[in-house]
């Protein structure tokens, strides 16, 4: 296992700047999640670390060693691809065995069999081992693709949206499973997703990318409670943070143009009047859609609330976040 560092890494594809001066340290044994919308540079970052692409500028180290000019094999990384990239002419078992059969490793066959069995059980694909890899559903392919990385003990695991095509139950099962594997083995994991629940539940660190720039890097909690910008604040939180004009409640700092309110930062019971215009009962909580001075707000309330559409709720902000005109945090 190893620490990964990126120092001033830049990469362009033609005129498209994919990564713009990204510096980041992935500590040894950490689970780092990269968040951002499509095109933010998440996958490019993974490909730089894996060695499938080389940076135009900057330096990447794994375990303290400079990776310039090193092939993926020399870097000893295991990668899970978004598009699965299974070997279509091989069975599931052969796909899982493939990395172990590398002459570099010289793994004996009983050891290979044991590992494949173990990984197949974790990923719930034991009954599919002798199927052709093309005769699987998307979710099964994705699991085989994860399995192909897990059979090895590389210095870094790189995963590109590995849970994106699984159903909700399997996704939450595997989330726990992956986190468990990572925590037990002490593996370093760099993980790309745009699912914020995955980021919040698994990550030790979250990196937020915006148009090739790393805008914030820190623990999920830090990011949630202390975002540096509107952009970073809206990456995490479900329902999303509410953005309103800063002066709507009064008491805003001078430079602020917007106030950001997470659902729990809207206190109910006293303050100013707002109207309920929709109620969503989710079981463990209830989401309230409020109209406040012609702005829409979403907050959460007690699961067994008696509120009805049209009711008046008094609200006031509590420990709100303030942002300036350029989107940066001011208070």
């Amino acid at each position: 296992m190893a620490e990964v560092t990126l120092t001033n890494v830049c990469k362009s594809f033609g005129d498209d700047v994919a990564l713009d001066d990204v510096s980041m340290t992935v500590p040894d044994g950490s689970f780092v999640v990269l968040l951002g919308p499509t095109g933010a540079g998440k996958t490019t970052t993974l490909r730089m670390v894996s060695g499938l692409d080389t940076p135009d500028m900057g330096k990447i180290t794994i375990g303290g060693r400079d990776m310039a000019g090193m092939t993926p094999a020399q870097r000893d990384v295991a990668m899970v691809f978004q598009q699965y990239s299974l070997y279509p002419h091989l069975t599931v078992r052969q796909n899982l065995e493939f990395p172990l059969k590398s002459p570099i490793l010289r793994t004996p066959q009983p050891e290979i069999d044991r590992k494949v069995k173990e990984v197949a059980e974790v990923l719930q694909i034991s009954h599919k081992l002798d199927n052709k890899s093309t005769a699987l559903s998307g979710g099964e392919m994705q699991r085989v693709s994860i399995g192909r990385a897990l059979v090895r003990q590389p210095s870094v695991y790189l995963m590109d949206e590995p849970l994106s095509s699984l159903d909700a139950k399997l996704r939450s099962d595997l989330r726990i499973e992956l986190k468990g594997i990572q925590a037990n083995s002490g593996a370093t994991l760099l993980y790309v997703t745009h699912d914020q629940i995955e980021a919040m539940t698994m990550a030790t660190h979250v990196g937020v990318l915006d148009n090739g720039k790393l805008v914030q890097f820190g623990s999920p909690r830090e990011l949630y409670e202390n975002p540096v910008s509107v952009y970073a604040a809206s990456r995490l939180g479900q329902p999303r943070i509410n953005m309103l004009p800063a002066d709507i409640f009064g008491g805003a700092p001078a430079a602020a143009t917007h106030i950001g309110l997470r659902p729990e930062q809207i206190l109910q019971g006293n303050g100013e009047d707002s109207t309920v215009h929709r109620i969503e009962h989710l079981g463990d909580q209830t989401r309230l859609h409020l109209s406040f001075k012609s702005h829409d707000l979403i907050t959460v309330t007690d699961a067994h609330t008696d509120l009805k559409v049209g009711d008046i709720v008094k609200i006031r902000p509590h420990e709100a976040l303030y942002f300036g005109a350029n989107g940066a945090r001011v208070a």
């Binding site: 499938l52 990239s85 070997y87 002419h89 990395p99």
Partner: protein, 315 residues
């Protein structure tokens, strides 16, 4: 009761449409549409085939239509299969087939592999390489006779340049040992590009991401080649072998133009022999039997091969 697909489609046809064409059931209309094709197939494929099989049991000669046609049973077949000349022709054909296919697949695959690398101008190279196959076989045969010419031929000159032998000391077309190779070389020159194109399609069908995965799984280039490239391109390679095999089994034009089947009978392939029997000696019954034997051979080999091909594809 099972419903035929035609009935199912017919059931979906709005009744208004069905009624408008009075007097025809939908089934009849379907038949009217396919009838021209069926008729053509019967007339130019099936009927001649059956007629050939019938003629193969007779001593019919097409240049003597007034002679009595005698039923000779299997005598034609017996004569062909025991004729050493026919077996020589078969051997010449086998030699031609095995070597052309081997060389073309080998060179074609290597060329495809090289051209598949991303480098500047590989489209231009593809066009240049594909050029020979755009020419007429007769033209190719004709200019290879010049290339093989002992005194002025470029081929002899090049061989002489590298070996130091006298270019006039050997004749590719005139020598009984060299002539079978002369036709192999010319055919390989002409048709390797075709095999290359098929192999290229095969190689391009393998997504880059598979190689990237293998790269991360720490497979060497060598291992990637044997465990990914070859297995995934194999169906295409086998298809190329099938095409070239069937094409070269009926090879005629190029070889006739180049060597005319000589010297002696060394380059007389079965199709050339058959043409002589049928349209120079006019032994129609005999040549019909000959044709049936060739047909059964090609058909048999091809069906076994296609079965193997399908198995590879299913893997």
């Amino acid at each position: 009761m099972t419903v035929s697909p035609i009935d199912r489609v017919a059931a979906k046809t709005p009744s208004g449409v069905a009624r408008r064409i009075k007097g025809f059931s939908d089934r009849t209309i379907a038949w009217i549409f396919v009838a021209p094709t069926v008729f053509l197939l019967l007339a130019v494929n099936i009927f001649p085939l059956i007629w050939t099989i019938r003629l193969s049991f007779t001593n019919f000669r097409v240049n003597r239509p007034n002679n009595d046609v005698e039923w000779v049973g299997l005598r034609n077949y017996q004569r062909i299969l025991t004729d050493p000349d026919v077996w020589n022709t078969m051997q010449a054909t086998a030699h031609f087939l095995i070597w052309t296919i081997t060389l073309q697949v080998l060179i074609g695959f290597i060329l495809a592999f090289l051209i598949n690398k991303k480098f500047k101008g590989n489209d231009m190279w593809t066009t240049i390489i594909v050029f020979p196959m755009m020419l007429s076989p007769a033209v190719v045969g004709n200019f290879w006779t010049f290339l093989y010419q002992p005194q002025i031929g470029l081929f002899n000159y090049v061989i002489a340049f590298f070996t130091g032998a006298d270019p006039a000391s050997f004749s590719m077309i005139g020598d009984v040992h060299l002539a079978p190779w002369a036709i192999v070389i010319a055919d390989t020159w002409m048709w390797t590009p075709f095999v290359m194109l098929i192999c290229l399609a095969g190689l391009r069908s393998i997504p880059d991401s598979i190689y990237e995965a293998a790269e991360c799984d720490r497979a060497s280039k060598w291992r990637q080649f044997w465990t990914i490239t070859i297995p995934m391109a194999l169906p295409f390679l086998m298809l190329a072998v099938l095409f070239r095999g069937i094409e070269n089994f009926k090879m005629f034009d190029l070889v006739v133009q180049l060597t005319g089947g000589g010297p002696g009978n060394t380059t007389t392939l079965t199709s050339i022999d058959l043409k002589r029997e049928a349209f120079e000696k006019w032994r129609t019954g005999y040549s019909s039997a000959y044709a049936v034997i060739l047909f059964v051979t090609v058909f048999g080999l091809a069906s076994i091969y296609v079965k193997a091909l399908n198995k590879v594809k299913e893997r």
